[in-house]
């Protein structure tokens, strides 16, 4: 575990020494500020539009941070050949990969925390309310979703040839799952065979990331979800996370380093 955490620690250090997150955070603040300065029909009490803009930016920033940070980990290690002195130490490839995953996930979690604190401040400034339980649930679920995306991206970084291809595919896959994934069964029902069955199988195979999207709940002030469902969704997310990580470990163990 110590070895995994050591690798994770380096990933986190890399994230906060690179400019990516700061740029995204500043952009989020600026665009939110701009949206906040808009006055609609001279009504100062309008809050949800601003909350929605801010949360959408947070989702986008977090996804960009998670995918781009993860996608470059293994390729960068191979390209800069830092993987060689690392693997010359008593650490297995599986531990390196788990360390990379833990690092990316924790780094994304830290980035998310900063972004949600900003959101809470923005929201409180407009609505004078702080629904802490809702925020904790939204943050937790968002982080779990990023865990799945990170595991998927890590697998992609081993299987796919270039980080750019991996990043593009992961963005398309993630947004595709979020927007279309929940309705694949409905589309499948209207299709002829065998396309319908294939799409239906895909519907059951993909990780349903929409479970983890609490944006609407936060924007529109829905009450918190029963914790047992949050727990069940977390277990569901971890199952996918484990599948992707296992596949990544198997692929990485077989991968030639040169």
């Amino acid at each position: 575990m110590n070895k995994i955490l050591a690798v994770a620690n380096v990933v986190i250090k890399e994230l906060y020494r690179r400019k990516d997150f700061y740029v995204l955070f500043i952009l989020t603040v600026l665009i939110t500020g701009l949206a906040g300065s808009l006055r609609f029909f001279d009504d100062e009490r309008i809050a949800r539009f601003l909350k929605e803009v801010c949360l959408s930016l947070i989702w986008l920033s977090a996804l960009v941070v998670a995918v781009t940070t993860t996608a470059r980990q293994i390729p960068a290690e191979r390209e800069s050949r830092t993987i060689f002195p690392l693997l010359a130490k008593p650490i297995s490839r599986t531990q390196v990969l788990l360390g990379k995953f833990a690092g990316c996930w924790l780094a994304s979690g830290i980035a998310l925390l900063v972004l949600y604190v900003f959101f809470a401040i923005v929201s409180a400034s407009k609505e004078h309310a702080f629904p802490a339980v809702n925020y904790v649930q939204a943050l937790w679920m968002h982080w779990q979703m990023l865990g799945i995306v990170i595991a998927m991206t890590l697998l992609g970084s081993i299987v796919l040839t270039t980080p750019a291809a991996n990043v593009t595919i992961m963005f398309v896959v993630t947004t595709g799952i979020l927007f279309v994934g929940p309705y694949l069964n409905k589309v499948a029902a209207k299709m002829t065979e065998p396309s319908g069955s294939i799409l239906s199988a895909l519907y059951f195979a993909i990780p349903h990331l929409e479970f983890f999207d609490f944006r609407n709940r936060i924007v529109h002030g829905w009450p918190p979800v029963d914790w047992k469902y949050v727990g069940a969704a977390t277990a569901y997310g971890w199952a996918y996370l484990a599948i992707f990580l296992l596949a990544a470990c198997v692929a990485f163990r077989r991968k030639a380093l040169n």
Partner: protein, 251 residues
């Protein structure tokens, strides 16, 4: 003295993914033994199989047949690398880290206690003369400084066996001298050093024993002093003769 590094009928084949491409035999039944306290030179022309042997020892490549052992533990097990230090030919380190952060990171991989880690970091940075730059990111280092940081990381766990891959390659004369001094110091401390090099003069100076590899086969293995006595010539001439160059070379 027991064998610290051992290979048994080590065979490595590289299979190409392309159809009808031939399988390349990189190592043929390599048997090698390095004993404790030795400085062992691993020689051979480019493509002889030195890097492949090194890759197997470090666990980067799985052998097609045979096995390799470090401290009697198969290299397939990561724990075999608990007591080794490795210095690659070129510096490949996380350039956003400072030297002390890099050493702390590797110390954690070796599960070193925190107090011992800090003590080792101080000692090593002093040894490689990087104390003044310990808090600077590695990307700001010169090539020589980066190579010294590499030596420090190779020694972080106070290893009993050091694997050095062309340790003086690309260094200026001063840098080479410093590396040589460090190897000498390690030898004096009773450490085992296994290094590959093309600098035969250097090998002749620091090595107790050498092995010469050619086309994946071990052509010769023995004590440097014995070889010099036997052939009555320099190590460089012996090397050229063994790899089949002397026949065409002008007398």
């Amino acid at each position: 003295m027991g064998a610290i590094l051992r290979t048994e009928k080590l065979r490595v084949e590289y299979r190409s993914r392309e159809l009808r491409a031939e399988t390349k035999l990189a190592l043929k039944e390599l048997n090698l033994t390095v004993n404790a306290g030795e400085v062992f030179g691993f020689l051979g022309p480019n493509g002889a199989g030195k890097t492949t042997t090194m890759n197997v020892l470090l666990g980067y490549v799985n052998p097609t047949a045979g096995d390799a052992f470090l401290f009697d533990v198969s290299v397939k097990n990561p724990i075999a690398r608990q007591r080794i230090g490795y210095l690659p030919e070129l510096t490949y380190y996380y350039k956003f880290l400072t030297a002390e952060e890099l050493l702390r990171f590797y110390a954690r991989i070796f599960d070193l206690p925190r107090s011992e880690t800090e003590k080792r970091i101080d000692q090593l940075l002093k040894l490689v003369e990087l104390e003044h730059a310990r808090k600077r990111p590695i990307r700001t280092y010169s090539k020589g400084m980066q190579q010294r940081a590499g030596i420090a990381q190779a020694l972080i766990n106070n290893p009993d066996l050091l694997l050095l891959d062309e340790p003086t390659s690309g260094l200026d004369p001063l840098g080479r001298m410093k590396v040589r001094e460090i190897i000498q110091r390690l030898k004096d401390e009773g450490k085992t050093v296994f290094f590959s090099s093309h600098e035969l003069g250097e090998v002749e100076t620091v090595c107790d024993r050498v092995a010469i590899l050619h086309n994946g086969e071990l052509k010769m293995e023995g004590r440097v002093s014995d070889l010099l006595a036997q052939y009555q010539t320099s190590l460089e001439q012996i090397f050229l003769k063994i790899v089949g160059y002397s026949a065409q070379a002008p007398a």
